[in-house]
Amino acid sequence: MANVVEIRWHARGGQGAKTASELLADAVFETGKFVQGFPEYGPERMGAPIAAYNRISDTKIRVHSNIYEPDFAVVLDESLLECVDCTAGLKETGAIVVNTSKTPDEVRAELGGYKGKVCTLDAREISESCIGRYFPNTPMLAAIVKVSGVMPDDVFIKDMESSLKRKFESKPQVIEGNMNAFKRAISEVKGL
């Protein structure tokens, strides 16, 4: 289990954490690593707290349990900090990345003594101004790439561009907004 990076996503049903964990797995796969991307299924509906996970490694990953001691936690909805223990088991050598307009220090005060790195990104503002709608998973995906360093930023950007071009062949107008959201997220994430 050495050299395995483990990431836990916290979100509400409908905010795209499952998709984000799969996109992260896809992107990191392209760098030649071994990946897992999987959601924790439950009877969740729109708005219910959910979790999704990533494991990233240089060697084949055999563990198939959920993740209890992640290196990184990503919180797509800051209201979850009140009802879910988002830092449970989170390694202090790692970081938590929260979607909020608050500063890292303001968020740290709400985390009940977590000693690791606290990072923030106003994903709502970025998503609404770049994409025109609220998709918190898009900027937060870029933020976790930046914070975790699981792959170089520029490789991630290139990879996302080519995958969006494939996916939205018939709707090229959506590509630019998404790419801007990724780029802004990488440069605006605070607390690094």
């Binding site: 797995a25 896809d26 299924y41 990953i61 198939h64 349990s65």
Partner: protein, 394 residues
């Protein structure tokens, strides 16, 4: 040349369906297997396969349609989970008794109730004596590889029995991970064209299936079916050897992980085997002679081979992700112990029921089992044979 990619278990198996390009796929959606026919119906709609896709109104009809198609000389396939498999029940026995090599992906999910959609093995374990071959898979790669091999095994002239390729619901079915696919042409060449020795549409050799088989014939038919199941071990190994030549990936009746000098070992199947392998490595690093036997082929049950693999251990724990609720032990445990009885003495064997209804299994849970085995070796005593792992006792 293999294709390196990343897919979920359901995606990988639906790609196998596409590459095999069967004559008929008849299926009814049920979580967590739904995506397999869902992806496949897209391939069918896009003209990527020549398959007749039959969206039926129930799993009973799905299996019935597969039986009809296979009896008519076609290659048919389906996928299901839990209650869906249960609804197929009576038709499972018809398929195997008629010697129709239908292939089915079983995405393991707990049988309700209480109502539950998550992983355990109560669905396929309940069908273990229905005359179908059962092949279990640790991850997406194995699910894909096993499904392709199962087509060849089931259609082997000495076998002619239907086969279930089983893998864990959600854990494997919905997890995106690395795997290597075969090229379409490679799969086509490997599975070949289905050439049934007889079928209902053959006007040169007319026949009828499904006669009333009275007491002076039925028993002989069942005895012959049992022999085909027993003989399928040879075909399974032949197909595995050929598969290894094409892909480089090696398969046997089971996988032995650090078993050569193991004193304590776990017998397990499907995804938790992977989690347990990491625990074996951890224990080995501390000098503990721990091993693991991962059953791939559960039907037929490789009695002699499993006994030989476990004979040198001091204590063995068999882990069952299904409870037989029989006051005796889980299905894998009762098969392993009855195989060992009279063939090998002195190995202490205990049973753990684990992970029912999707209860997550962590490396720490597996450590509990190895610690108990080490305690059994130390004291020479088994406290309790039939145990539960990861359930709240208080």
């Amino acid at each position: 040349m293999g294709i390196r990619t990343k897919l979920s278990g359901n995606e990988a198996v639906s790609v196998a369906f596409k590459q095999i390009n069967p004559d008929v796929v008849a299926a009814y959606p049920i979580t967590p297997s739904t995506e397999v026919p869902q992806f496949f119906s897209t391939y069918a709609a896009n003209g990527e396969v020549e398959t007749e896709f039959v969206p039926v109104e129930s799993e009973h009809s799905a299996m019935s349609a597969c039986i009809g198609a296979q009896a008519a000389g076609g290659r048919s396939m389906t996928a299901t989970s839990a209650q869906g498999l249960a609804l197929m029940w009576e038709m499972l026995y018809i398929a195997s008794a008629y010697r129709l090599p239908i292939n089915m992906a079983v995405i393991n999910r707990a049988l309700s109730g209480p109502i539950n959609i998550h992983c355990d093995h109560s669905d396929s374990m309940g069908a273990r004596d229905s005359g179908w071959l059962q092949i279990y898979s640790e991850d997406c790669q194995e699910a894909y590889d096993n499904f392709i091999q199962a087509v060849r095994i089931s259609e082997h002239p000495d076998v002619m029995l239907p086969a279930m390729t089983c893998f864990d619901g959600f854990i494997t079915s919905h997890k995106v991970e690395n795997l290597e696919l075969m090229e379409d042409a490679e799969v086509q060449k490997f599975v070949g064209k289905y050439k049934p020795p007889y079928h209902l549409m053959d006007k040169e050799k007319p026949m009828s299936m499904g006669p009333l088989s009275l007491p002076f014939h039925y028993f002989e038919s069942k005895r012959q079916q049992a022999e085909a199941m027993r003989g399928s071990i040879k075909a399974i190994l032949e197909v595995a050897a050929e598969f290894e030549k094409v892909t480089g990936r090696k398969y046997g009746l089971f996988e032995e992980y650090q078993m050569a000098d193991a004193e304590v070992a776990i017998v397990i199947l499907n995804s938790t085997a992977g989690t347990a392998k990491d625990v074996v490595d951890e224990l080995r690093a501390k000098g503990v002679k721990a091993g693991l036997l991962k059953i791939r082929v559960f039907r037929p049950f490789p009695v002699e081979q499993i006994v030989a693999a476990l004979a040198k251990c001091k204590a063995v724990a068999v882990l069952d992700r299904a409870d037989s609720v029989n006051a005796a032990g889980g299905p894998v445990f009762t098969d392993v112990t009855s195989a060992m009885f009279g063939r090998v003495d002195g190995v202490k064997v205990i049973n753990y029921i684990y992970g029912l209804g999707g209860r997550d299994v962590k490396t720490d849970d597996i450590k509990v089992v190895y610690n108990e085995l080490l305690e059994v070796v130390k004291t020479g005593k088994v406290k309790e044979v039939y145990n539960y792992l990861g359930v709240r006792e208080v």
